[in-house]
């Protein structure tokens, strides 16, 4: 007798819903266990986290601040993953987006009066991200170079380049040695709504809707879905596979670049360290957890942002490490990863048949 995985014969809706729920429950238990070992009360901790993330206007705003870049990069990464193109370069695309936005703001101030400066900055972010993602896309379609590692490497190049700029030529001469560019002109500041949360949230939600619409309701989106499911089938139906991949990946990078533009024009108002705290990598998790559905991404992004902000709060209120939030994120993922198998396969016990029968 042995255990065997057998492919399911129909999509199990119950599995699709139960698996994330059970995973979340499992992670809550695991974290509770961890907390108890360290002498903290799990219920108190969880409520402190929830209150921290949502309980006050300030907390909620901070949650939004973290959620916005996660949403944008999550959406970008989701498009790429839809095509089975493993874009691990969201971090670098975001960074260069921020650099481009900063560049436009710092140097084109004279030429772009009023709101045009902000618009130009955002466009710059879009373009930079598109370009930075376009390079690995071209390498993949023309030379079949594996995108996972190339996009990863390009993150470092982007981050180092950005560092070079704000430590070097773009450094604020009046900055008292603090590494960072000078502050942007006020017409390049992305308007804020509440606390530090800016209108990027509206743009992000809008983008989510548009992306969903493109994927589900347009011819191009349909072609992308086919390419993602089977390049052979796409080719056989006359779809231009390579061209579409490059376009879609450029779009993916553009969204990540826009996220970076949001960060510099909306949050920091200058180019400095800490532009991204790993948003690009967390984006991959957001996209995956949302099962690449653009409508689910804002919610998942919000949830992960809440864990992060909640973690910060917990540190101040209960003296627990802020890293709590990160640990929880990790702990949610493991059961989900394990559980993802059950959406496609069932566990069966198989009894071996003997080879030959008498008579």
């Amino acid at each position: 007798m042995r255990l065997v995985f057998e492919k399911r014969k129909a999509t199990s809706i119950s599995a699709l819903i139960l698996v994330p729920l059970i995973s979340f429950a499992v992670s809550l238990c695991l974290t509770a266990l961890l907390l108890t070992i360290f002498g903290a009360d799990p219920i108190k901790t969880y409520s402190a986290m929830a209150i921290g993330a949502f309980g006050s206007l300030h907390g909620f705003a901070e949650t939004l601040v973290k959620a916005i870049p996660l949403m944008m990069t999550g959406l970008g990464v989701a498009i790429a993953f839809q095509l089975k193109f493993w874009n691990i370069g969201a971090e670098g695309q975001l960074t260069l987006g921020g650099v481009a936005a900063a560049g436009v703001t710092l140097f084109l101030e004279q030429y772009l009066p009023g709101p045009l400066l902000l618009v130009g900055a955002l466009l710059g972010g879009l373009l930079a991200g598109a370009l930075w993602a376009g390079i690995p896309a071209l390498l993949k379609t023309s030379l079949n170079v594996d995108e996972t590692l190339v996009t990863l490497m390009m993150n470092y190049i982007a981050i180092l380049f950005s560092e070079y700029l704000y430590y070097g030529p773009w450094r604020d001469p009046k900055g008292y040695g603090f590494p960072g560019s000078r502050m942007f002109a006020s017409n390049a500041w992305l308007p804020r709504i509440v606390g530090r949360a800016h209108i990027g949230i509206l743009i992000a939600l809008f983008v989510a809707l548009i992306l969903w619409f493109i994927l589900k309701r347009t011819r191009w989106g349909f072609e992308l879905q086919i390419i993602g499911a089977s390049q052979h089938a796409a080719r056989y139906q006359g779809i231009a596979v390579e061209r579409n991949i490059v376009l879609a990946i450029a779009l993916s990078g553009a969204l990540c670049g826009l996220a970076g533009a949001f960060e510099v024009t909306g949050i920091s108002h200058r180019l400095q360290q800490g532009l991204s705290i790993g948003y690009g990598y967390t984006a991959i998790i957001v996209a995956w957890m949302s099962q690449l559905n653009p409508l689910a991404i804002p919610f998942v992004a919000l949830a992960l942002a809440a864990l992060s902000v909640g973690g910060d709060q917990v540190q101040m209120v209960m003296g627990l490490p802020a890293a709590m939030g990160t640990v929880m994120q990790g702990l949610i993922l493991f059961p989900m990863l394990a559980g993802s198998l059950f959406t496609e396969y069932r566990l069966l016990a198989v009894i071996d048949k003997k080879g030959s029968l008498p008579g």
Partner: protein, 524 residues
Amino acid sequence: MCAQCNTCRLFLSIRSMNESNIPKVEMRRISKSFPGVIANDCIDLRLHKGEVLALLGENGAGKSTLMNILCGLYRPDQGEIYIDGQQVEIHSPRDAQKYGIGMVHQSFKLVDSMNVLENIILGLRNEPFVPDMKRVRKQLMELASQYHLGVDPDACIWQLSVGEQQRVEILKLLYRNAEVLILDEPTAVLTPQEAHELNRVINTMKQEGKSAVFITHKMEEVIEFSDHVMVLQKGRVVAETSTSETSPKELARMMVGREILFQIERKPYSPGKAILELSHIEALRDRGLPALKDISFSLKAGEIFGIAGVDGNGQRELAEVVTGLRKSIKGTLKIADKDMTNKSPLEIIREGVAHIPQDRASVGAVGDLSVASNLAMKQYRSRPLAQGIILLPKRIVEFARRLIDKFRIATPSPNTQVKFLSGGNVQKTILAREIGAARSLIVAVYPSRGLDVGATESVRRQLINMRDDGLGILLFSEDLDELMQVSDRIAVIFEGRIMDILDAGKIDIEHIGMLMAGMKTEVD
């Protein structure tokens, strides 16, 4: 238990009492079925030491299944295996290896990036922790010269020609002391020169007391290589004889022998103008070897033009050239008098050409998408399914429902993902989509492969309906029954060439069988 078996058993037991020679390998009453098909039906096989046996039959006759059972990849539902007179259980390739049985498959089990020596010892448990490669090399070269299997031990597999790779596979078996070698369609990938060399190798093996079984559909091979031949048809042994006592003609008859079936009801044959014209088309396989070597024919509107032949003789490449998925290196292609040589698939689709591909699961249909999406995949670019760049989901579902009804596709809903449908229904989906969009020509490649009787019926009916409506159909099939029931004319393809084109009404089964096996018309 098959009714014949008690009779067989009686004969066998009488015979074996008289036989002083215990066979090296004996398979008794082997039966194996898969869902929906009986692959082996009570088959007896005997192989003596120093003997070469040919297993002859069409596709689906059960030859590969039988040999897969012998080398441990499948388990028989019924039957026993005896090696040197002792009954044995073979549950895995390792067991088979223990008993001295090894198989060279059509797709080689070699690691491309490693060299010959490494591939030879891969997986061997009795090699020491640090294998003495000098010893391995010496042993290998000895075997190589003994059996005329010249090969460069340091070459990497990707650097070798297919013929050389085959030699490595054979050497692998010999290195593991195989006494019985099974070869699956060995000359399918060889040049005539290499095939001759293979013959030499097999003869040497015979002299050394080894035995071989090879699976084939080519008459030439049977005559040249084997001592005995066993003909299989639809899972049963229909003939067993020593090669010297038979002739290619007789073998062909045994291989395809059947009653002639009546053609399916249809309108009288009145072909229109030429829809598809191929002129001296040449094309290459993926690996660069020639696949099509001077193909010319003309297919007319209102006709079903069948292509007969065993899979692997150029059918895939021909279908791909006609539908724009493969470039031809010479020759011209015309669709409805328009030159479409080497145009893109999209342009050919726009000429109203439909394609029912060989790869149902990965090319024809997309498993992860819904039935409705799959049905829409050809016509989504324009009305009524789309308005400009926007898709109209309601129209798509309507369109899908109509096709599901018309073609009787069994699916819980239009939104069910195709991967959950049975093979027959996947094929119906593909057919529905393609036939729905076809305006001039339909290229159908093995459309009823793996389908049950009902689905097969409906596929053939659909194709005839289209033909009656005035379209041209290019039908590739391995099933002669199907071709004869459905086609107006039949061409036989062998090793990239059209052997002959025959009128379906005047078909001589034996003649077709011989053409399929590569023998040109013999003067009686």
